[in-house]
Symmetry: C2
Subunit: 522 residues, 2 copies
């Protein structure tokens, strides 16, 4: 409560956004961080509040999103009593964070917050996490503390909030001689590789149009004939006409391993080595079978990635390449699918979205099985940002949309939202209404956990159509009325059962200020 009351004291430096469940807060912070490139701050109430936020913090960890959690704890002198709300907050925090700190009496809370913010800017840890968690016992928040600058005294809660408000984007260090040598060696390997046998595997900051890392990747591919691949579950890839033409790795390990097996040289651009999402009988664990010397990792040294990729492009003779139309296939030509007509299916839903999405859209894609055709259909759309589910913890889409819209008020967010996953964080619609966020949620209402049915079939599990399997994979009885849910939380909504209805609803939603929801009945 002290930190809440102190938010006003930092004078506009922090914008409080309320979520009706902590999974909305942590997912929104993830969406904000992916788009803004600087951390959002969550304020969570003890262990249960952090617990509720963990699933989307898991996604943020896998997305390498900079994010800071401020978690209140019991007063230091009350912890031994083990009151009802006590639990092991530090243990919970460690499962998602690369930095966990519990403040002690007498500690400078402003400095502790500054350290947490700094930790989000350092190179990601082994799991990719840039999440930092600061645990502050209750009594520390009501103490007064000295300001380092002038020695005057302020409430500790205000100092902490000031430090959080000061968070910004840190600038990268220049390329060291060792890093430059690494790039020269990679360039030599790339040029020595037979044409068509090298691939750039792109993620993280290499997939963003900010700076020119993504552009450099396209230039490298255009100059060398290397393939351009990207993760299947990516945090954010900037896409569309004039941007590099990426091939998304397939979801299932056998297909993904087959796609990667064509290459003899792999350059990993700010991304972990690809591994299978699950282990299946007879399927691989690691998706790359190459020896270590054929895999170059451009993510481990924490320096200026755009500069490194610019240097690599220059060394392979691609520095001057302009991303004009179909430049050796490395860049996407402008193109849009036609507006489809008639029956609404998963494919025609994707086609409608790709036909109508406005320039600069942010596509938050938790469409899972329903959205499989969207990637190819949207290739030539006006430039947009594409965000997906990075950690497999479903329920990211609605909260990610909240955060992306807060970070980018001048862009339209379109959330392609699977219905089963959407119900995990449906409360986030209320925050969209409250904040007047420009988010269009398109619910892919197939009324089933379709991905589970695919898994049952792939694992040849019988009885895959048994009573229990049906009861635990189908959500159509009763059918969820998404229009009622959205309206119940203040979001204008409609239902579409044909392509024409979806197109009309999208056009109306684009024309209206604030959020909208469209239930696309598939």
């Amino acid at each position: 409560m002290h930190f809440v009351a102190a938010i006003d004291a930092v004078g506009g430096g922090l914008r409080p956004v309320l979520g009706l469940h902590e999974t909305v807060c942590s997912g929104a912070a993830d969406g904000y961080g992916r788009m803004a490139g600087k951390p959002a701050l969550t304020l969570l109430h003890l262990g249960p509040g952090l617990s509720n936020g963990l699933a989307n913090l898991h996604n943020a960890r896998r997305a390498s999103t900079p994010l800071v959690n401020l978690v209140g704890d019991m007063a230091t002198w009350h912890q031994a009593a083990d009151p009802l709300l006590s639990s092991d907050i530090s243990a919970l925090a460690h499962t998602v964070s690369r930095h966990v700190h519990t403040c002690a009496p007498g500690q400078d809370l402003g400095a502790a917050m500054a350290a947490a913010v700094s930790a989000t800017a350092a190179p990601a840890g082994a799991s990719g996490s840039r999440v930092a968690t600061l645990i502050v016992p209750h009594d520390l928040s009501w103490e007064r503390a000295k300001q380092p600058a002038n020695g005057s005294s302020l409430p500790a809660s205000v100092l902490l909030n000031q430090a959080a408000a000061a968070a910004g984007v840190s600038s990268a260090a220049p390329l060291s001689p060792a890093a430059q040598q690494f790039v020269r060696d990679a360039a030599a390997a790339l040029q020595a590789c037979p044409r068509g046998k090298a691939a750039l595997y792109i993620g993280g900051r290499a997939a963003l149009s900010e700076g020119d890392a993504l552009l450099s990747c396209g230039r490298i591919a255009a100059a060398t004939g290397a393939a351009l691949l990207c993760e299947n579950a990516f945090a954010r890839v900037d896409r569309g006409a004039g941007l590099p033409n990426l091939q998304r790795l397939p979801y299932f390990p056998q297909e993904a391993a087959a796609a990667l097996s064509q290459y003899e040289l792999l350059l990993l651009m700010d991304v972990r080595r690809p591994v299978a999402n699950f282990g299946y009988e007879g399927a691989p664990s690691q998706l790359v079978a190459l020896p270590d010397e054929a895999v170059w990792e451009f993510d481990s040294w924490g320096v200026d990635l755009p500069a490194a990729l610019r240097l690599l492009a220059e060394l392979v003779g691609g520095a001057a390449i302009t991303p004009n139309v179909n430049c050796k296939g490395a860049f996407c030509a402008p193109s849009r699918p036609q507006l489809p007509a008639g029956r609404l299916t998963a494919a025609t839903m994707c086609q409608t979205v790709a036909a109508l999405q406005p320039p600069g859209a942010i596509i938050v894609d938790e469409s899972l099985t329903s959205g499989s055709s969207y990637w190819a259909l949207s290739r030539g759309c006006p430039q947009f940002s594409h965000l997906t589910l990075t950690g497999g913890a479903i329920g990211a889409g609605i909260p990610l949309s909240v955060g992306a819209a807060v970070a980018c008020p001048d862009r339209v967010v379109i959330n392609l939202q699977a219905d089963g996953s959407g119900m995990y964080s449906v409360q986030g619609l209320w925050t969209q209404a409250r904040e007047g966020l420009k988010v269009i949620t398109i619910v892919c209402a197939n009324r089933t956990y379709a991905i589970l049915k695919v898994e049952l079939a792939r694992e040849r599990i019988t009885p895959s159509n048994g009573k229990a399997a049906k009861a635990l994979t189908e959500i159509g009885s009763p059918a969820i009325d998404w229009v009622a849910l959205a309206q119940g939380m203040g979001v204008p909504a409609s239902r579409a059962t044909t392509c024409e209805e979806l197109a009309a609803a999208m056009s109306a939603a684009l024309a209206r200020p604030g959020p909208s929801l469209i239930e696309a009945v598939l």
Copy 2:
């Protein structure tokens, strides 16, 4: 998926109930365990699935509810690859569980599940937890395993489910000589204590009408003049006409400590020593200031509690007492408040419920500030079970109602549900509709996190009415339309703005099969 498919193989021994978020599953398991006295089983998907269930598992831990979680993990040979959905499941599980076991290749999964079930029946640990968590790597579920009985081979997933289906209520061991001596010593202390200076503080199994532990508590009080207190945040207290007349401990520590300070001798009946929910400046941590020899703990030896209390009642001369009307104030006389009329307030809402609740009702009470008058108003109602929020992790009410209704299909569940807390697990309404559960949810729609405003005021935090404090404690803009939300998930719903409307809606809901929701606008 293997365990889902194998549920059918155990032939009706397990009833699969789907939740649209794991907090529904874990809260429902808590409600089931509180009413059935035997564990429900949750099936959770890796670390994120467990994370989503943690808040209500925290409540279950504080309620000492027997409960088993089955959590799938990555295949053993795939864990080193750290796939997207991997996280430290064991660390997460330890924060709520008293028993955590990760199965290893070759292990008998049936025996591992039987051990987990057994762990829920043993005396609760220091934190009160009877939660057991079994972690099963993916590859173990598709192995076949020998049946101990006849050596034939079955899928491990079936064996595990069979062990879970066999879970029952364990019978307690008879009183040992040491336990009998403890009871004799307690009886002597009670009889030596000045009249009115002793109190029984009741919780856990001592508060249940099953067996006669609760009845014995009333007899002990009637015979000795001891006061009858119960926890503020209790798992389940059986109440109503003819049952002991309990005084509920106040919520705030100053008031609770004052209530307890009247007594020189305290008998703790299956309950932890009372402590403050939070530490406040100048307020106590421990609520009981008595020396250890004046506090008798009847919960630490894991034997037959009803037998111990029966013996105690006999030793103090209360064995023959019949709980007739107002027997020295120790038992409740039948009485019902009048149906109120006119404006709906928190108090008249509670009065209406107490006036209309049917015999045998299960009151799931997450009403927080709105329900403060319900305790006294319902004292003389026909016997009912009263369940509250035990761990402070809000969002328990709707899921608890699901589990209580599954456990007791012949009883009516009435959920007094604060609106802010209700939004934490609103998805549970869908499960109520799907399973046709007899649950009447009464939403206390005051459109604010009222408890936070109380806390702000008590801590004299300024500006308590600042912009941020308002933004983060009020949920009325936009107003949540609970009728739309309920109907959107298949639950018939209506809105009440007067006492008459609430009474009419309750009568209609009682007459209708399946669930209903009433938004009581306060």
